[in-house]
C-alpha cells in the first residue's frame, strides 16, 4: 500500500478546509432552518468529541457529561445576558450580586463557562475517579443529576424552574465551527501525543499501565478536566444557539448525556472523526424522524402521528447499529487521507482482481 507523503496530506487537508469554508459561508442558501442545523452539528460535534476523550480514549465510562454542559451553558448565559433582561427574568428572587451587574462578551463568557465546567469536572472527578467501571458511571450520573437539581432549585442564581430566556443568539455558524476546529486540534493533538498513548494504554489495561509508571488517577483526571472544559464550551454555544435554558431532564439533563453517548457509540468509541460523524448522523436523523410525530402519508396510507415516535425510532436505529455494527462507523481509528486512500484502493483492487 502506497504511503501518502506529508505534502499530499497537507494539500488535501487545505483543500478540504477551503471546501468546508465555502460550504459554511454559503450555508444560508439552504434556508434558516438548515443553517441552524449545520450550527447544531458543530455543537453536537464538540459535545461528542469531549465525551469521547473520556469514554473512548481514556476508557472510563462517565455518564455526567450533561452536567458539565449545563454548567457551561448557565455560566456563559448568565454572563452575557443584559442587566435589564436579568432584572426582568429573576422576578421570584433577584439574581445574586456580582452577576446581576455585569455583562461580558460572548467569547470570554464561553471561555469562563468552559473553565467553570472544568473546575466542576475536577471537583466531581476527584472523589469519583477512585471508583471504576459501573460504579464510576453511576457516581457521575448521580453528580450530573445533583447539578441539574441544584440548578432547578437555586432561584437566586439560575432562576430555577423558570429558566433563562432572552439569551442573545450569538452562536453563528462560524463560532460553532471555529470552536469545533479548536476542539479537534486540541483533543486530536492530545490523542496523538505521549499523553494520548498513556490514555489509550489506561483504557486497554489500567493495571499494566500502572506498572508501566503511568499515574492512572492523574491521567484520568486530566482527561476528565479537559473533557469538562470542552463540554462547558459546547454548553455555552448551545445556550446561545437555543436562547432559552431550563433544567428539565429532557433538555440539559440525563437525556442529553444519552444523546451524546449515542453519537459517540455510532461514530465509534475513541475516534474523534467518528464523534463528528456520529454528531452529523444524530443531528440529521433526529430532525428527520420528527416528521413521524405528525401524520405521515405513505403511498396513500396515512400513518397517524404519535408524540414521542421519533425517540422510539431513534432507539430502534440505535439497537440495530449495536447488533450489526458494534464498533461504530470508525471503530477506534481515525479518518485520514491515508485510510481513505487505502479503502478506495482496496475496493478498486478487488474489482480489478
Amino acid at each position: 500500500m502506497k504511503k501518502l507523503s506529508f505534502k499530499v496530506n497537507l494539500i488535501l487537508t487545505i483543500v478540504f478546509l477551503i471546501g468546508v469554508y465555502f460550504f459554511l459561508a454559503n450555508a444560508n442558501i439552504f434556508g434558516d432552518y438548515w443553517s441552524r442545523i449545520i450550527t447544531l452539528i458543530a455543537i453536537y460535534g464538540i459535545m461528542a468529541i469531549s465525551y469521547t476523550l473520556v469514554n473512548g480514549i481514556t476508557g472510563i465510562f462517565s455518564l455526567g457529561q450533561a452536567g458539565f454542559i449545563a454548567i457551561g451553558a448557565y455560566t456563559s448565559a448568565l454572563l452575557t445576558l443584559s442587566i435589564q433582561q436579568k432584572e426582568m427574568s429573576f422576578f421570584i428572587q433577584p439574581l445574586i450580586w456580582p452577576l446581576n451587574s455585569i455583562q461580558i462578551g460572548f467569547f470570554p463568557a464561553t471561555i469562563i463557562g468552559g473553565l467553570v465546567a472544568a473546575f466542576f469536572a475536577f471537583l466531581i472527578g476527584y472523589p469519583s475517579l477512585r471508583l471504576t467501571g459501573d460504579y464510576f458511571a453511576i457516581a457521575t450520573l448521580a453528580f450530573a443529576e445533583i447539578i441539574r437539581i441544584l440548578i432547578q432549585n437555586s432561584y437566586g442564581l439560575t432562576n430555577g424552574t423558570l429558566g433563562l430566556k432572552g439569551i442573545s443568539s450569538y452562536t453563528t455558524v462560524w463560532w460553532a465551527w471555529g470552536w469545533l476546529l479548536v476542539t479537534v486540534i486540541v483533543i486530536g493533538s492530545l490523542k496523538f501525543s505521549s499523553y494520548g498513548r498513556a490514555l489509550r494504554a489506561i483504557s486497554e489495561d489500567p493495571v499494566a499501565a500502572k506498572v508501566m509508571g503511568i499515574d492512572v488517577f492523574r491521567h484520568q483526571m486530566m482527561a476528565f478536566v479537559i473533557s469538562g472544559f470542552f463540554a462547558g464550551v459546547s454548553g455555552s454555544l448551545y445556550a446561545h444557539w437555543i436562547t432559552t435554558l431550563d433544567p428539565r431532564p429532557a433538555s440539559l439533563g440525563v437525556m442529553l448525556t444519552f444523546y451524546v453517548l449515542i453519537m459517540i457509540v455510532i461514530g465509534g468509541l475513541g475516534s474523534i472523526s467518528g464523534a463528528i460523524i456520529g454528531a452529523i448522523f444524530f443531528a440529521f436523523v433526529s430532525q428527520w424522524l420528527r416528521m413521524f410525530e405528525s401524520n405521515v402519508n405513505f403511498f396513500g396510507f396515512t400513518i397517524p402521528g404519535v408524540p414521542g415516535m421519533s425517540m422510539l425510532m431513534l432507539s430502534a436505529i440505535f439497537i440495530l447499529v449495536m447488533i450489526f455494527w458494534r464498533r461504530g462507523v470508525m471503530g477506534k481509528s481515525e479518518l485520514s487521507w491515508q485510510s481513505m486512500y487505502n479503502f478506495f484502493k482496496k475496493r478498486v483492487g478487488d474489482e480489478n482482481g
Binding site: 486540541v186 493533538s189 492530545l190 501525543s193 505521549s194 499523553y195 498513548r197 498513556a198 489509550r200 494504554a201 486497554e204 489495561d205 493495571v207 499494566a208 499501565a209 500502572k210 506498572v211 508501566m212 509508571g213 503511568i214 499515574d215 492512572v216 486530566m222 477506534k332
Partner: protein
Amino acid sequence: MADNILRLERMTIKFGGLTAVDDLSMYINKGELVGLIGPNGAGKTTVFNVITGIYKPSSGKVYFKGIDITGLKPHLINQMGIARTFQNIRLFSDMTVLENTMVGQHSYFTNRKALKFLHAQDPQKYPKPSWKPWLFSAIFKTPDYTKVEKMMREKALDLLEKMELKKYADLKASALPYGQQRKLEIARALATNPTLLILDEPAAGMNPQESQRLLESIRKIMEDFSLTILLIEHDMKFVMNICERIYVLDYGKLISHGTPESVQNDKKVIEAYLGDEIYV
C-alpha cells in the same frame, strides 16, 4: 547488606482467611539473576504483585535500594526502577508494537524530575525541561516536546531491535505470535529504564528453541542495561540454566533457598513437586 537491591522482610499477605504468602524474607543483590519457583498456587505471582505495589502486604516490609517501598503506588515503584512483565500477557493489544514500547517511556520522559536528572547527565543529548507544563507542550507540539517524542521513538526502536521485534514495529500487538508477545512485554518493561526487572514466566508457551533464544537475550539485556533480574519460571531446565540463586515457595512458605544444585537436591523441594515418598 549494602548490596541488597531488593529485600523482603517477613512479608505476609492474607486474602480473607487464606494466607497467600507467609512470613517470606528474601533478598536480591545487585546484578544477580534470581529465580522464584514453586508448584502452582504457591504464591509466586502474589510476591511479584506485592513488590510492584499492586497488592499491599498484610504485614512485613519491602525495601528497594534501602528505601521502604511497602504500600507505595505502582507507578511510583516503577519510576524508582522496578519493571515487570505479566504471566497472562497484558499488552496494550489495540496499539502497535512501537506504541506499546513508547508507553513504557511516557512517565520517564514526562516526569520533570527525571528530565532534569537526564539534562544534568548529558545536556547535549537531553533538552532542558521547559517551564511549561508538559501537557501543554504535548498538545501544542513545542520543539522540546517533538525532540523528546523523537527520542522516545528512537529508543523504542532500539529496544525492539535488541529484542528482535523491529520488523513488527507497526503491527498491532495482538497480531504478534505468542512468543513474540512475551518478548514485547520485556521490551516494554525495559522502556521504563528499570534497575530491577521482574519476569513472570517469560518462557511460558515457548518451544525449546525459542526459550533458548530468550535465555540468550535475557543474558544479553542483563549485561547491556546492567540489570538485576528476578524471575518466575516453570521450565526447570531454563531456571537451572540461568539463575544464580533460587527461592522455592510452597503454599506461601519458603521451603528452600540456594544455588540451583543445592535446591535440586533438597528433599523438601522434591516432596513439594512430586509429593511424599510412597511406601508400598
